[in-house]
Each structure stands twice: as C-alpha cells, then as structure tokens.
Symmetry: C2
C-alpha cells in the first residue's frame, strides 16, 4: 500500500532496538483518513474470504480493527491482555511473551463472542516475532472458528514472525513489509 | 439516545457490584452500527464546539472514540495506562485509581500529540466515579489545550462522577444516564 509506505517514510522514526515509531498517525495519535484507507485495502485483499468477525488485541490494534470491521460491515472483538473483574465466566486464554514490553501476559476472549460458526480475520498494527498473533491464533483454534487470514499494517520481515506464519499455510497480508531498518535508512520488501 | 437505551435494556446484563455488562455490543465485542450512531450523535451534540482532537483512554474507549473522530473528521489520541518502551521522551502523566480493576496506574500521553493549540473532546464508554476522566482532564490541563467537553456513552449517575464534573462547569454529554440499577431492574434518568 503505497500511501502507507510514503507515510512511514515521512513520519515514522527509527529508534534503537529495531523500534519503528509510527505513533503520530497509527498507534498513539491516529489519522482517521489513513485508518479508513487501511480498512478499505484489507477489504479489497480479503474480498473473496467470507469473513464475519474481526479479532484484534488491545490496545493499539483496536482503532485499525474498528475501521476494518466497518469496511466488512461485521462485528469487532478485541482480546484483553489481563483478566478483569468485568470478564467473568468462560473465557479462552493463551499465554503470550511480549518482546516490546519484556513481559508475559494472558490473552483473553470471552467464549460468548467467538464460536465454531465464526470466520475470523485477525488484525494488528505490527508483526515482528509474531508472539501476540500466535496467542490470538491459539484462541481462534480453541473456539473452533475458521481462521480466514491475518491482516497486518506493518510487518518487520527481518524479525521472522511473518514467514513463520506463512510456512504454516496461514494467509497473511501485510500492507507494508520492512526488509531492513537502521538508524538512517528503512528499506521495504518489494 | 433511544436506540442505545433500547440496546442496553435488551442486551445489557446487570452483575453484582454495580457492574453493567454491555460487552456484547460496546466494549469487548463491538457492533459497528451502534458505534457509528454514537459517533454521529456526539457530532450532533457538540456541533457548535470547534473540536480538533478526540482524546480517550485505552482500551475500551478506543473503538468508540475512533468512530467519533470519524464523525468530526479529526485525529484521535488515546492515553496509555502504563509507560511502555515505545513511548520515549516527554509525556504528560497523571495518577488514576481504578474502581473497576482495584488498582492504581499512570495515564500517559506523549507531549507531541497534545498542545495549547488543541480543542479537545474527551470520549469514554463509562462514567462511574469519574477517576479515569479526572486523569484525562488533568492531562489536558497540563498541555494547555482547551477542554471543549466530555462525551460518555453510559453514565452511572448514582455513582456521582458525572455530577461532580458538571459542578466544575464542564460540558458533559452522556448518551444514556442510569438512575438506578438492581439485579432485576435498570432505570434511566429522563
């Protein structure tokens, strides 16, 4: 998606430790226009899949997933990162190790909102080593739902998570794939 | 907002401890149609205010705020609940005590995304005792931005947070105001 790549080049900032900051338009402050374009692009790429639910994980995936859900005209579910008093009863749960935050947490979805009748598109802002996504995939598997595909805004290809998912036969669409990144250059994969 | 009140009555569930679960359509699974209606309703109510930014707090406010931002055609910023590696440098920060989760946390917004030029509408799903909102108001004050108003989807009036904000002269619009709530009845304020 060219407009996204242009925006990453103009407004993204590379920080030590393979961090790409896009928080001026994607995941802290959000530009509603680029979110709408992203929603429309995922709809185009997964047009043929019979998707009836969008699943993401809090917090930075939610606004993106919301505009994707609008494009598909289906409900959105977001997985929570910790058990809260307000999610009582039966939940699917999967343990995830976060590279970004150096911590371990449980990803949780209420069983009410994901069933064997669902055909799910997973959405997230970043894919690096893929650990958070593997937690979501595990939850989709537990529910018996069909995983139709995964839509990622920015894939850091050099961190390997994307290829590991593709090798499993999962349909993965990333709107911008970063081949390499140093303090003063950022190269997209063709 | 009548369609919201109807939805709360048909799909909401009252749980012990003054908990109203609306997670089938508002804050775990989200119905994109009701989110769009909510966005349009806040636009109608704050039409005269010259709002250029929507501010909310992770996680359950984000999807709502996203559709409000779309209605106003302005950017959205969400406050984070903990310092993460990816928010470096200068931030506004305010300490909040959560009634729902029985814990204390810091609310954080990068200084880059809130300045004295901003005219802000705060958006959240619930208003009970108002502690999270007071953290956001504190952050708006720190930034020098103008607080144009607060838009709440469901106000639990009997918990007092809404009236405390109104007494301060803050413009507060709540789409459904709950007067009282017991295990088998729920009464809206006129």
């Amino acid at each position: 998606m060219q407009s996204l790549k242009d925006r990453i080049l103009s407004d993204g900032k590379v920080r030590p430790g393979n961090v790409l900051k896009v928080d001026s338009f994607l995941n802290h402050q959000m530009d509603i226009h680029i979110l709408e374009e992203i929603g429309a692009e995922f709809k185009r790429r997964f047009e043929d899949a019979n998707i009836n639910k969008i699943l993401t994980i809090e917090a930075s995936g939610i606004a993106i997933a919301c505009m994707v859900a609008k494009s598909f005209d289906v409900p959105l579910v977001f997985a929570k990162k910790n058990q809260t008093k307000n999610i009582a009863g039966d939940v699917y749960s999967s343990r995830v190790t976060s590279y970004t935050h150096s911590r371990v947490y449980d990803v949780i979805v209420s069983k009410e909102f994901l069933t064997a009748d669902d055909r799910v598109l997973l959405i997230d802002d970043f894919l690096a080593n893929g650990c958070a996504l593997e937690g979501l995939i595990d939850i989709v598997d537990q529910s018996g739902a069909m995983l139709e595909g995964i839509g990622i805004v920015i894939e850091k290809h050099f961190q390997g998570g994307g290829d590991r998912l593709r090798e499993k036969g999962i349909r993965l669409e990333s709107l911008a794939i970063i081949e390499s990144m140093t303090d003063d250059s950022l190269k997209f994969k063709d």
